[in-house]
Amino acid sequence: MEAANVHVHGAHDAAHGHGHHPTGLMRWVTTTNHKDIGTMYLWFSFAMFMVGGAMALIIRAELFQPGLQYVSPEFFNQMITLHGLIMVFGAIMPAFVGFANWMIPMMIGAPDMAFARMNNWSFWLLPPAGILLTASMFVTGGAAGTGWTLYPPLSVQMGMGMDMAIFAVHILGMSSIMGSINIITTILNMRAPGMTLMRLPMFCWTWLVTAYLLIAVMPVLAGAVTMILTDRHFGTSFFNAAGGGDPVMFQHIFWFFGHPEVYIIALPAFGVISHVIPAFARKPIFGYTSMVYAIASIALISFIVWAHHMYVVGMPVAGQLYFMYATMLIAVPTGVKVFNWVATMWRGSMTFETPMLFAIGFLFLFTIGGFTGLVLSMTSVDVQLQDTYYVVAHFHYVMVAGALYSAFAGVYYWLPKWTGHMYDETLGKWHFWLSFISFNAAFFPQHFLGLAGMPRRIPDYALQFTDFNQVSTYGAFVFGLSQLLFLYVVLKTIRGGEKAADKPWEGATGLEWTLPSPPPHHSFEEPPILK
C-alpha cells in the first residue's frame, strides 16, 4: 500500500515537473531530483578526493627521505588525520551514495527516490562537514593530530580542531543515516511490479545491506565522539583511567563502528563490479543467489570481528583467539564473491573497455588486499604487523584498488547514460594503466616496509627504509596526477562527444538501459513491466 502511495506522489510531481524549475545555483540548492543530487554527491566526492589527495602528497613528499624536510611533525599528524577522515567520509562514502542516487531509481523502475526533500538535505549537510574538517587546519592548535581513529587520551589533548572534527563526524553521520533511510525505503517500496527481491539488481542489493549497516553503526560512532567531546569539555571520564574510565573502551566502540564501515565502503563497490563484469563478459552473473547470501553474511560477520584491530591492547587470550577465528571466517563469503566474478568471466565473450579494465584491476588488487587481510587476521603475525606500513598497504589495496577502482569502473560504465555522450576510450585506458601501475608502485613497497619494521604515522624514519619510501613517493605522485586526466575525460564527456545509444554496451542488462541517454527528468513516470 505504501508503495502505491509513493507512486501516486511521483506521478503528481511529474505533472508539475517541467517548466518552472529554478535555474542556475538555485536549481542545485533546491533540487529534489535524484539525478541532480547524485551528480552533486559525485562532484562533492571528487572535490574531497582532490583535497585528501593533496594531503596524501604532502605526506609522501615528507616521507621521500629520512629527516624533516617540508613539514613539522605536528602538521604531519594533522595531515594523516585529515587525509583519512576526508577520504573515508568525504570522498569514498559520498561517491557511492552518488551512484545510489543516480542508479537505484533507474534500476528498479522508479521515478525518483522515496523522500526527495530529505535527499536534498542529506546532500547539503555534506559541504558544511567538509568545510569544518578542512577549516580545522587553520584554527589555533591546528586540526586533530590523532589519526582518523581519534584515540583518546591523545584526542582529549588536542585543540579546537578536534571539536570541529567531532562536529563534522556528527553531521556526516546524520547525512548518512538520512541517505540510508531513503535508500531502504526506495528499494523496498518503489520497485517496478514483478521485480521481486531475488530479481533485484546486484547494486541495489549491496546498497540495501549497506544502508542497514550504516543505520546500525553511524550512531555508535556519533556516541563515541560525543563521549570524547564531554571528556574534553564537561568533566566526564569515559576514557580517563584517573576518573574510573578506560581509554581502551573507546577503541572497542570505535571499531564496532569501524569494521562494518569497511564493508559499508566495500559492498557498494562489489555491487558496481557485479554489473560491469557480466556486461563486458556478455554473460549473466554467476551465482546470483550465492552472491546475495555472501553479501548478507559478510555484513553480519562484520559486526563480530571488530577487535582484530586491537590485538596488542592486551585483551585476554580467549578474546584474541575468538576474534581471530571470526575474522578468518569473513574470508569465506569474500572468496565466494571473487570466485563468482571469475566464473562470470569464464567462457564469456569479453571485451576490455575502460570499465572492464577497472573491474579486472579491482578484482586482482582487491584480492591482494584480501590476502594481506588474512595474514593480518592471524593474531601472532599481526602483533608484528599492527600499526606498521603493512597495514597501510593492506587497507589501501582494499580502499583504493577496491572501492576507488570500482567507482571509476562505475563512472565509465554509466557516464554515457548520465551525459548522453561516449567518453574518450583511449584516454580512459590511459587513465586505467597509469593508475594501475602507479598505484602498485605507491603501495606494494609498503608491504615490505611494514614487514621490515617501519611504523605507520611517523614523519621521519630510520635509514634502511629509504629506498622503498622513495619508490612509494614516486608512485603516489604519478597516481595523484593521473587523476587529473580522469577529471579531463569526464569534463570532455559532459561537454560533448559521440552520441551514446540508450544501451551503449552490447552486454549490459537492466532497466536503466531502457531509458534514453541522458534519461528524462523523472526516470520512470510509468512503472515498467518486468517479464
Binding site: Q65, P66, G67, Q69, E74, N77, T140, G141, T146, P153, L154, V156, Q157, A241, V248, A281, R282, F286, G287, S290, V312, V313, M324, L329, A331, V332, G335, V336, F339, V342, R347, G348, S349, M350, T351, F352, I360, T367, F371, V375, M378, T379, S380, V381, Q384, D387, S438, F448, L451, A452, G453, P455, R457, I458, D460, A462, L463, T466, V478, L481
Partner: protein, 377 residues
C-alpha cells in the same frame, strides 16, 4: 611517467641532504631476523601462509587470465550462458573453510605461547611518556634499577644540518640491558597517552595504556643490540621515541647491575642538603632539557596554540606553590603531564627554579626540595 618521475627527483634534490640514506641501500623484503624462538615461529608461520596464499592466488588468477586470453570477443569466442552450478559453489565455500582451519591450528599455538607470561626470571616495567620510555627493574636480578631512555639522535641530523648516523632515530641515551636466555616479563603502562612498546626482532609489541598495566614477555637467544620504536601514534614526537634493547651474557649482566647500583648510590641526592640558586639553576637546565623542551622548547617560547610559553608565563612568574602544583600534578586533559612520579624532589625544585630564572623570567627566587616534599602531601 619518467618525465614526471625525474621532475619529482629534481624537486627532492632541493632537500638539504640528498645523499643521506642512499648510502645504506636496503631493500628488505621480509621480517627482521628474529632473535627469539617465538619470533622464529612467527617468521615461519608467515612464510608458510605466504606459500598457501601464493598457490591460491596463482590458481584463481591463472584461471582468470587464461579466460581473459581465451574467452575474448576479438578471438571470436561466443559467450556461454550458464549462471549457476550448485556443486561448484558448495566446493568453493567448503574448501577455503578447510584451508583456513588448517592454517589456524599452528597460529593458535603461537598465540597461546605469546600470552604465557608465567614464571619470569626478571620483571621489568616500562612506562611510556610523551616522548620517551622509562624502565623500572622490579623483580629479579637488578631490582631497583630505574632510568629513562630518550632519543640520542641530535636534532641537527633530523633537520638535515648534519649527516645522518648509522642508527638514525633508532638510538637512545640508555639501553634496556637484559640477560640472554632468561625469560623477561615486561609490564607496560603509560603516563599520558597510549604508546606501544615494539621491538621487531624480539617479536614483541604491547600497548602501554595510561592507568592500566599490561604485560608481555620475551627471551632473547643471542647477545646483541635490538632496535625498535613506539608503535602507537602518541602526539608530536611519536616518531622520535625509540627503544634499544641490549642483550648480554649472564656475567656481563651481573656486572652491569653492579655498576648501575654504584652509579645510583653516587647520584642519589642528599635529601637534607640546602641548595644554592646557582646549583639549582644549572641542575634545572638539565632537567628542563631532558623533560620539557619537547613541548615548551629550549627558548621557553612553546609552540603557539599547542604548548604555552613558559617565558613570561603568569604561572611561572606567579606564586611558587601554584607552579609547583602544575609540575607535580600536571593539567588533566592536556598534554601537560604530572611529573610527580617521574622526577625527584630535587629535580622538580631545580626545574621550577630554573624556569623562574631563565630567558626573560627574573623571579630571582628558588624552590628547595623540601618545599616539593611538602607539596606532595
Amino acid at each position: 611517467m619518467t618525465s614526471k618521475a625525474s621532475s619529482m627527483a629534481g624537486l627532492a634534490g632541493l632537500g638539504l641532504s640528498l645523499y643521506s640514506g642512499l648510502s645504506q641501500a636496503a631493500w628488505e623484503l621480509t621480517f627482521q631476523k628474529p632473535a627469539t624462538r617465538l619470533g622464529q615461529e612467527i617468521f615461519s608461520l608467515h612464510d608458510w601462509m605466504m606459500v598457501i596464499i601464493t598457490i591460491i592466488f596463482v590458481g584463481v588468477f591463472g584461471v582468470m587470465f587464461y579466460s581473459v586470453y581465451a574467452h575474448r570477443k576479438s578471438r571470436g569466442h561466443k559467450a556461454a550462458q550458464f549462471h549457476e552450478n550448485t556443486l561448484v559453489e558448495i566446493v568453493w565455500t567448503v574448501v577455503p573453510l578447510v584451508i583456513l582451519i588448517l592454517m589456524v591450528i599452528p597460529v593458535t599455538g603461537t598465540v597461546l605461547a605469546m600470552r604465557d607470561t608465567s614464571n619470569p626470571d626478571l620483571t621489568i616495567k616500562t612506562t611510556g611518556y610523551q616522548w620517551k620510555w622509562g624502565y623500572d627493574y622490579i623483580k629479579g636480578e637488578g631490582e631497583g634499577i630505574r632510568f629513562i631512555a630518550t632519543l640520542a639522535t641530535p636534532p641537527e641530523q633530523i633537520n638535515g644540518k648534519a649527516p645522518k648516523g648509522e642508527h638514525y632515530l633508532l638510538e637512545t641515551d640508555r639501553h634496556l640491558v637484559v640477560p640472554v636466555g632468561k625469560k623477561i616479563r615486561l609490564l607496560t603502562t603509560a603516563n599520558d597517552v597510549i604508546h606501544a612498546w615494539w621491538v621487531p626482532a624480539l617479536a614483541v609489541k604491547q600497548d602501554a595504556i595510561p592507568g592500566f598495566v599490561r604485560d608481555t614477555w620475551f627471551k632473547v637467544e643471542q647477545e646483541g643490540i635490538y632496535r625498535g620504536q613506539c608503535a602507537e601514534l602518541c602526539g608530536k614526537d611519536h616518531g622520535y621515541m625509540p627503544i634499544v634493547v641490549e642483550a648480554v651474557s649472564a656475567e656481563k649482566y651481573s656486572k652491569w647491575v653492579e655498576e648501575q647500583k654504584k652509579l645510583m648510590a653516587a647520584a642519589a641526592d642528599d635529601p637534607n642538603k640546602t641548595w644554592t640558586l646557582d646549583e639549582l639553576k644549572s641542575r634545572g637546565e638539565k632537567v628542563y632539557a631532558a623533560n620539557c623542551v619537547a613541548c615548551h622548547q629550549a627558548t621557553g617560547k612553546g609552540v603557539p596554540g599547542t604548548f604555552p610559553a613558559l617565558d613570561g608565563s603568569k604561572v611561572v612568574m606567579g606564586p611558587k606553590d601554584v607552579q609547583i602544583g602544575t609540575v607535580l600534578n600536571g593539567r588533566p586533559g592536556t598534554a601537560m603531564a604530572a611529573f610527580g612520579k617521574q622526577l625527584s624532589d630535587v629535580e622538580i625544585a631545580a626545574v621550577v627554579t630554573y624556569t623562574r630564572n631563565a630567558w626573560g623570567n627574573k623571579a630571582a627566587d628558588m624552590a628547595q626540595p623540601g618545599e616539593i616534599k611538602a607539596a606532595r602531601k
